[in-house]
Symmetry: C2
Subunit: 366 residues, 2 copies
């Protein structure tokens, strides 16, 4: 556990150093630019850091890494890559919240709300909401660039050019897939009707895999492992482990998006329902609903819901048996991952820690 | 001229190859993702390609580059960097149009409008405008990533690691500065009153320099030159040339934003006035206006203007003498650049072509 705390500290420190460096570099643009940096610091002082941790463990699956002693060159570049993932994730969340019109994130106002509030407080001209959108969009763009810079630094410091290129390829693929996955997610919400059950399940699963499962677990693992010079066999093994854990991670997210404790998730209760997300959970819940009930359910999904309506929909989902089915799926995915890890050619220490982190990802309450 | 045509063809070809590669890579995400790629192709089939051309000339300022014969390894990586700039620029414009609520770009509907129209035509649920925003935001994110990939490929193929790192640094600085410059631009539009003349001119000039001048000319030149292994002296000389040409480029843009021919600019006439842009042109126009006239002018700026109001504001600007002052500034900047180029340590062929391209950037009508 000491290692986990130490790692969390190192990650936060590297993020702060990165942002401070950019604040200094941008000084010639004057003090008005500070608001962007302030919001970046604020946003990046939270979060669960799953991606950073999986990247570090990906490296440790292949090569030892001392977290406790003095900062080694290896740890230095793994930290760059891990923080690149966190910065990229921050950018994705900031843009996501614009797209999903989410006003809350990590228990604080979403970034576009913070910029809008700044506008209101200063008594500026024009629409505060639109200024909020502009500020958040540009901060997301900035963080995307800075993520990329960190990733480059990690790769430049990697003597094995093939390894560096491999890490870069994983990073690139991840970025494309998550943006397109997010697009497919938005597209689902626009459809006037659900597809037939099988097709809908396929569509919802595709979004789950690309928007989250690969992005949250598999890609970070592969990026870390590649930096350590992983062989194709090791990469395959980490995919075999990472993808089902990523699926479990997102299925848990589906549950939390409907039943999560607002205090813990930092998101309003039933958020996914009001946003009209066609998650696997929702798709399974609808499968066996009688037509009348299903029509009511569909009519409410994606609308401004009052607390009673949220409770009604939660009850419908619970009574449909979908919650247990999703729990089963989570368990089966964790088992599948555990099973594959047993014979995986990864360092034993890392394997043990991977299981701990995987359990946390699959069982978390926030 | 044959070379210019050949270069335009090579750039378009490289852009198309890049997008086709991504289309294939994203095939597992299904056909729904095609719309994103289609919009990318559509958007990237136009534009003046100033940035790509300046990057190529930056390289040629340092080392010869045969555009006409078979594709050399040098030309190959310069094309990657040049197209990285074009993809990044497309992303920036797509996000800009969201922020500026611009419905037209290059004579076509802006990307967020295209996605909104798709939504309307398909009869989907929810707000078409918001879907338009989501699609455009995500396409911008994608193009940003892809720009970055191309830039990496250019750097990876550069044997001189120092040169590669230098090119990357220029690219990184450019990305940060243009996003923050854009933020400062938006911030200006929100201010309830103009600052005093001197301060306002300083603020408007800062936006001009960071949002456009460095980004449009100086940075592309430096990126190209760095890839060719430019010495600090050559880089300084290219900055001495590039920055004033960039300033002239944006001052021309200010003129076109108020007086430009809609048919040529692909933007509604008087666009900058309706958007409330506090350009150098507008700031100079206000300087000596009598209070009453200035209040009327300020009251109209940034509002929905009818054609008569646009004409009235154009007249005010013209009668203020600001148009001539800006023309003088453009000429002085071009002269300064020409002067500095005379003694610059760059290859003579490139110097001649730099002057041609600089004149086009400063005198263009679109």
């Amino acid at each position: 556990m000491q290692e986990t705390t130490r790692l969390a500290g190192l990650i936060q420190e590297r993020i702060n150093d990165t942002l401070s460096h950019h604040r200094a570099a941008l000084a010639p643009l004057g003090p008005d630019a500070h608001a962007l940096l302030d919001e970046a610091f604020g946003f990046l002082t939270g979060g669960k850091r799953f991606r950073a941790q999986f990247a570090v463990l990906g490296f440790r699956a292949v090569a030892p890494l001392d977290l406790v002693g003095e900062l080694s060159p290896e740890l230095d570049r793994v930290l760059d890559a891990a923080c690149a993932l966190e910065l990229f994730h921050a950018a994705a969340l900031i843009h996501d919240d614009i797209i999903d019109r989410s006003d809350t994130r990590r228990g604080r106002p979403a970034v576009h709300r913070l910029f809008a509030t700044m506008h209101e407080q200063q008594g500026w001209m024009g629409a505060a909401d639109h200024f909020g959108l502009a500020g958040a969009l540009l901060l997301g763009d900035l963080l995307q660039s800075w993520a990329d810079e960190l990733m480059n630094r990690a790769c430049d410091a990697t003597a094995d050019r093939g390894a560096a290129r491999q890490a870069r390829d994983h990073f690139n693929r991840m970025r494309s897939e998550v943006a397109v996955g997010q697009y497919l997610d938005v597209l689902e919400e626009q459809q006037p009707t659900f597809a037939g059950h099988e097709e809908q399940l396929e569509r919802s699963t595709r979004v789950l895999v690309y928007k989250s499962a690969k992005y949250s677990v598999e890609a970070p693992l592969l990026i870390g492992a590649a930096l350590a010079g992983a062989s194709p066999e090791v990469e395959d093994a980490l995919s075999e482990f990472g993808l089902p854990i990523g699926v479990a991670f997102q299925l848990r997210d589906d549950q939390l998006g409907v039943f999560g404790d607002e205090e813990l998730t930092g998101k309003p209760i039933g958020d996914d329902l009001a946003e009209g997300k066609r998650t696997v959970l929702v798709t399974l819940a609808r499968e066996h609903l009688p037509t009348t009930q299903r029509n009511i359910f569909d009519g409410l999904l994606g609308t401004d819901l009052d607390p009673e309506q949220v409770m009604m929909m939660q009850r419908t989902i619970r009574e449909s048996g979908a919650v247990e089915r999703v729990e089963d799926m989570i368990s089966r995915n964790v088992e599948r991952a555990t099973e594959s890890l047993r014979s995986a050619p990864v360092l034993p220490d890392a394997a043990a820690q991977l299981m701990v982190l995987a359990e946390r990802a699959a069982r978390r309450a926030s």
